[in-house]
């Protein structure tokens, strides 16, 4: 029964990871930057929901408020920093966003304190299989909301004018520019949408799990891992590998113990990269 529990927990967790990873894939594909501060944006989104909870508003409303605030935070970060690294080497973007990550970590530490916090939604739990499997309703709620947001976003990307512009820029920024797409605006919007996604995910994480100012980096690494396994612009792949990662983590938690949980995530990243490297090197290619 523990394995069923771990699988279900893992799938529900993995859907959340997939949502964050989708934002990562979006900005990577469109702007060609890797955002190390992704996880910190998630945590910041979580704190917005937590604050609503502190002031007596139900934290589930954070799912709506947090992305709106985070969208503007994302635009602000883009205007201040990201627009200067878009056309540069990927390594520059990694380092610059690393700086943002340290900055955010500390600012959140000052603003919200270094305690592990949780916004209690009061949703209760669901028992399955003769009470052998316990699922908190908040996890089911968060998975449901994540799927909802992902579907909305996919439809938005397919149908709206901005969505088409974003996809065009991802394919060929120069050609898009010639055809009258304001790529600067598209980049800003992309980063804003990514931050908003992080905001949703963060609000859900603050309801279901716990948040802490220094917990950002593992979320970045998880989303990076999901993207490199699934590939850019492969949404079903992102969802699947997100769930796979969630299940892996839950099992690692049970088998190795909680203190090795984060370590195993990082080690899995290294193993996946090395595996892909050996697989590609047979054809004398390498990861690009």
């Amino acid at each position: 029964m523990i394995s069923v529990q771990a699988c279900l927990d893992g799938i529900l967790l993995g859907i959340l990871f997939a949502l964050i990873a989708y934002g990562m894939a979006l900005q990577w594909g469109v702007m060609n930057i890797i955002n190390i501060a992704q996880g910190d944006l998630v945590i910041l989104g979580g704190y917005i929901a937590y604050f609503m909870y502190l002031y007596g508003i139900h934290p589930a409303w954070g799912v709506i408020v947090s992305p709106i605030i985070m969208y503007f935070v994302g635009i602000a970060i883009y205007k201040l920093v990201i627009n200067k690294v878009v056309d540069r080497d990927l390594f520059i973007s990694i380092l610059a966003t690393f700086g943002i990550s340290i900055l955010f970590m500390q600012l959140m530490n000052f603003a919200f304190g270094a305690d592990v916090v949780l916004a209690n939604s009061g949703y209760g739990t669901t028992m399955l299989f003769d009470n052998n499997v316990v699922l908190p309703n908040s996890k089911i709620f968060s998975a449901f909301i994540s799927i909802l947001f992902a579907i909305c976003l996919v439809i938005y990307m397919k149908k709206s004018k901005l969505g088409r512009a974003i996809r065009a820029t991802a394919q060929n920024a120069r050609a898009a520019k010639i055809l009258g797409v304001d790529t600067e605006k598209v980049y800003a919007a992309t980063f804003g949408i990514n931050a908003a996604l992080c905001g949703v995910a963060g609000a859900l994480i603050s309801i279901t799990f716990t948040i802490h100012p220094y917990m950002g980096l593992p979320y970045t690494i998880r989303s990076f891992m999901i993207v490199i396994v699934a590939g850019l612009g492969n949404l079903p792949g992102v969802a699947m590998s997100g769930m796979g990662l969630g299940i892996f983590e839950e099992f690692a938690d049970y088998i190795l113990g909680t203190e090795f949980r984060i370590g195993s995530v990082f080690l899995l990243l290294v193993l996946i990269l090395v595996y892909r490297r050996f697989k590609l090197s047979r054809k004398r290619e390498y990861l690009k």
Partner: protein, 349 residues
């Protein structure tokens, strides 16, 4: 050439005299030496080879743990030492301490080198940002995993042997300063030696275009691994010294501190100028002064200031101090600017 000799002798004399001129800054000066070693060796594969690694912290932390473990384990049971949390149940005599340190430093240098050689083939096959992220993961994973191993103190940390009582109170600071200074000189001589050989040209060829270098018949993988092993050797040594200097090893905050030291070494090299001999040294010095300034004047806000500094350096100053100087005074760098040729170039444009 003559000027250079005077410069080196001047720096050497200053280095030897520094702890006596500024006795209050001995620990800071030793940390500066360690930082210079780290940034200079990062520059071997980051700057010269073009493989931007966040993972050199792995060797640094490994060296730190190994040096301390050997130093304790040679004379006392390691498990009991860590269990007592560094309480003074066992006391090193001075000769035990120095013997342990010597053997520990050798182990701390050799084992990371071997580790780098072993994982090099897998990791160095990755390129660009995949390499960067992979090594970042490696460093953080090492920190998380070592934080779960009981024999080296797990979560509560590992207290390194306290410095033995050998006369004056000043001797601890002086010992660690001169130890790190010797390692710094060793590193400098080694790196300067490397930079005059064909090996450096091969590394530069790998940086500029790896496929072409391979097509020219260079076994790039071999040289990449050697370059990484050289970095690992000195990183391990620096880690061993730093462990003794700090006196306390924590898995994620001191040893495998990828978020701080791991980024600092990259930043110092970039601030000074990647791919130059003096760049990382100047960068480390400037950075250390900045950092200590932040820690003194913005206490509490130091990480905020640091984050801003990282962003500013990376965005507005990617060429570094040496790159800026080079652009300003190309003659000093041995680049002959032919006025006629330059005018012709301008006219062509």
């Amino acid at each position: 050439m003559k000027n250079n000799l005077i410069l080196y002798i001047g720096i050497l004399i200053f280095g030897i005299a520094a702890p006596f001129i500024f006795p209050a800054f001995k620990v800071q000066l030793s940390i500066l030496c360690v930082l210079i070693v780290l940034s200079t060796t990062w520059n071997i594969q980051g700057g010269e080879m073009g493989y931007n690694s966040f993972g050199n912290i792995l060797f640094y932390g490994l060296g730190m743990y190994l040096c301390a473990s050997v130093q304790v384990g040679m004379f006392f049971p390691l498990a009991e030492w860590t269990e007592s949390g560094g309480e003074k149940t066992f006391v090193h005599t001075p000769s035990q301490f120095f013997q342990g340190m010597a053997v520990g430093l050798i182990v701390a240098a050799v084992v990371p080198t071997i580790v780098a050689g072993l994982i090099g083939y897998s990791i160095l096959g990755l390129r660009g940002h995949y390499f960067a992220i992979c090594t970042l993961g490696l460093g953080v994973a090492a920190g998380e995993i070592s934080g779960g191993i009981e024999i080296i103190g797990a979560g509560q940390g590992f207290t390194t042997p306290p410095f033995p009582d050998v006369g004056s109170l000043e001797s601890r600071g002086e010992f660690f300063y001169f130890l790190s200074f010797i390692v710094l000189i060793l590193t400098f001589v080694a790196v300067k030696g490397i930079y005059t050989t064909r090996f450096k040209l091969i590394l530069n060829a790998i940086r500029d275009n790896e496929d072409k270098a391979e097509a020219m018949g260079i076994e790039t993988m071999k040289y990449k691994i050697i370059g990484w092993m050289i970095s690992a050797f000195f990183c391990g040594l620096a880690g061993g010294i730093m462990g003794g200097l700090v006196g306390y090893i924590d898995s994620t905050d001191v040893a495998f501190d990828g978020r701080e030291m791991g980024v600092f070494m990259v930043l110092m090299a970039i601030l000074g100028g990647k791919g130059t001999l003096w760049g990382p040294i100047i960068g480390a010095t400037v950075f250390h002064i900045f950092k200590e300034g932040f820690w003194t004047f913005f206490l509490g806000w130091q990480y905020v200031a640091l984050g801003v500094l990282i962003v500013v350096i990376v965005i507005y100053f990617p060429e570094g101090i040496m790159g800026w100087l080079r652009e300003k005074y190309p003659e000093k760098f041995g680049e002959v600017v032919d006025e006629k040729d330059r005018k012709a170039q301008v006219e062509l444009k």
